[in-house]
Amino acid sequence: MKTIKREYLLTALILLAVLVGAFVLDASLPSYHIAIKVVKKACVYSLVAVSMNLLNGFTGLFSLGQAGFMLLGAYSYAILCIPVAKRAGVYQYFDGGIVQFSLPEFFSGFLGGTVGPVVGMLCALLFGGLLTALCAYLIGLPVLRLKSDYLAIATLGFAEILRAFFQWNALGPLTNGSNLLKNYPDIGGAAAYILLVGVFIAVILLLVNSTYGRAFMAIRDDEVAAEAMGINLAHHKRMAFIISSFFAGVGGGMLAMYMGTVQALSFKSAMTYEILLVVVMGGIGSITGSIITSFLYIAGLEWLLRGLDSGTFLGISSPIFKNGFRMAIVSVIIMVVVLFFRKGIMGDRELPDLFRPRKKAAKKGGEAK
């Protein structure tokens, strides 16, 4: 009993340290500093990766529709949050668009200028999530009956269809067609992102450890046995699909927040693959793994490994360090993980597992083979 307490205490301490670190980062660095941008983007990727892990890792449904769901969330957030005064400029080809209100402004009307916008932004995020969930429900009706790889390719197809619709000029007054949406507000700095993403991931964590989460894992481990033990497959798969999509939608909204501009073109299948590979490297079935890998991946790609592209890395200059070398190295690392460390950096373990007495952890890892 005592050891259990110790490992959760340590975990809590680490989480607290991360949060304090984020506040320190916000206070000591200007908001445009690369470290803050990296933390923000990594937070968003963590959320999206965890949501994908919920579906692919915990429920065993191989879906590749993540980018499409993020697109929905991102557009919802942007459309609902652009200040009314700036709509004419943003929708320059569509007479200011058809949506003529802004949630942050609406809420600041009666909640004041500090709380109101934040409430408005959160509402927009949640609305994006709900819209995505609804869309997932509709998509799920036909595609969830499909088996593994067919499901993957069908969801991939749906994401592409969604993208075509959002770029369609006929919907321009709503979506701005192929053009950027921008000028909407951001919710805050690194700490705000960590808090927000922390709350969402905590909810996913609670779900995974609830009776429903266990049912999802049962479906993943053995569908036939799960069904024979009274777990309604269609119902539970749909539920996992919808919940995962909800968080992907929220993640998409946060990505929009972070980027400052939204364009459907960004949400290609390459984005889904990128997130999938992050999940795989972190360990399919490990939330901690997804989070850690998101941070490593974003920090490496956007910041620390840039030297590989521009000639000098870690003080070493070499002609092979030219454009594209960074991505080449990253993809080689990914392949090495996929082939030789198939369980990723965390396997299916979570943060507290690392502080459990060595013997037991090792045993569990050994048995999982």
């Binding site: 595609v143 269809i161 594209g324 080449a328 993809s331 990914i334 392949m335 996929v338």
Partner: protein, 292 residues
């Protein structure tokens, strides 16, 4: 829409290009139950090899070199990325395929500097313009379907009448039993990739004769479309893949013709989803039942 003819001619040409890639998908799926996401990229690499080799070597050397190197690439991919995962769950295999695709694209990017590589020495004769029924087109448009038909006929013969072809059929029917029967699974699978890559190389040479440059993303869309064609025709079935490819090529061009080009890609995917939901085994696929 103007007369139907130019759209049909073009559709047939596009379909022929998809067909050669689609066969690669369908062969691999038939045997490994794997969507080989990297196949479109192999196609792109074949295009790049053609660009480089035709710039330095005479055509009669360049063409065999393209075929040889592409086949080698397909072989190496299978040995390096898929063979170690043979006993792993299918999801791992698919992830590995996505990883390989990512890797090939990034490596190609590194080596080309991210610039599309211009096709300077197109294969002569087939890249010339001809006039068919009063419509102008490149000769390759006409050559592609014919060559596709010839290659498919050869392939069907190969699969039905040679020992290794028989092995391929056996492995696709039942992996474990084939193993027990003493079929050399690994060489059969390698052979599948060799054949698939060979066809992709031929497809790439025809395809990029039509177009002025090879970009690292060139493989993506044709690859995906070809995959849809393979599913449409019933994945695992060679005639199915070919018919599916032509149907998709033609309907895509017709959609552009009636002015819905915004949805020409979306339509392909919508078709895929409808087929998967209504008839998951495609037009010519066989039904598989799971054992409990």
């Amino acid at each position: 829409m103007q007369g139907l003819l130019p759209y049909l001619i073009n559709g047939v040409s596009v379909g022929g290009q998809y067909a050669l890639i689609a066969i690669g998908y369908t062969l691999v799926y038939g045997i490994l139950r794997l969507i080989n996401f990297a196949h479109g990229d192999v196609f792109m690499v074949a295009g790049l090899i053609m660009v480089y080799s035709s710039a330095t070597l005479p055509m009669y050397l360049a063409i065999p070199l393209v075929l040889l190197l592409t086949v080698a690439l397909g072989f190496v991919i299978e040995r390096a990325a898929y063979k170690p995962l043979r006993s792993a769950p299918r999801m791992s295999l698919m992830i590995s395929a996505i990883g390989v695709s990512y890797l090939i694209q990034n490596l190609a990017f590194y080596f080309t500097g991210g610039l599309p590589q211009p096709v300077t020495n197109a294969i002569p004769w087939i890249s010339e313009n001809v006039t068919v029924f009063g419509e102008s087109t490149k000769r390759v448009t006409l050559v592609t379907p014919v060559l596709t038909a010839v290659l498919v006929a050869a392939l069907v013969y190969f699969i039905n009448h040679t020992k290794i072809g028989m092995g391929m059929r056996a492995v696709s029917k039942d992996f474990e039993t084939a193993l027990l029967m003493g079929i050399k699974i690994n060489s059969v699978i390698s052979m599948t990739f060799v054949v698939g890559s060979f066809l992709a190389a031929v497809g790439a040479m025809l395809y990029f004769t039509n177009y002025p440059s090879v970009a690292i993303t060139s493989g993506g869309m044709p690859g995906l479309k070809a995959f849809v064609a393979a599913v449409f025709g019933g994945i695992g079935s060679i005639p199915g893949a070919v018919v599916g490819a032509f149907l998709i090529g033609i309907s895509e061009e017709l959609i552009k013709g009636i002015g819905y080009s915004t949805f020409s890609d979306a339509f392909t995917f919508a078709l895929l989803i409808v087929v998967l939901c209504v008839r998951p085994t495609g037009l010519f696929g066989e039904k598989v039942t799971d054992k409990v």
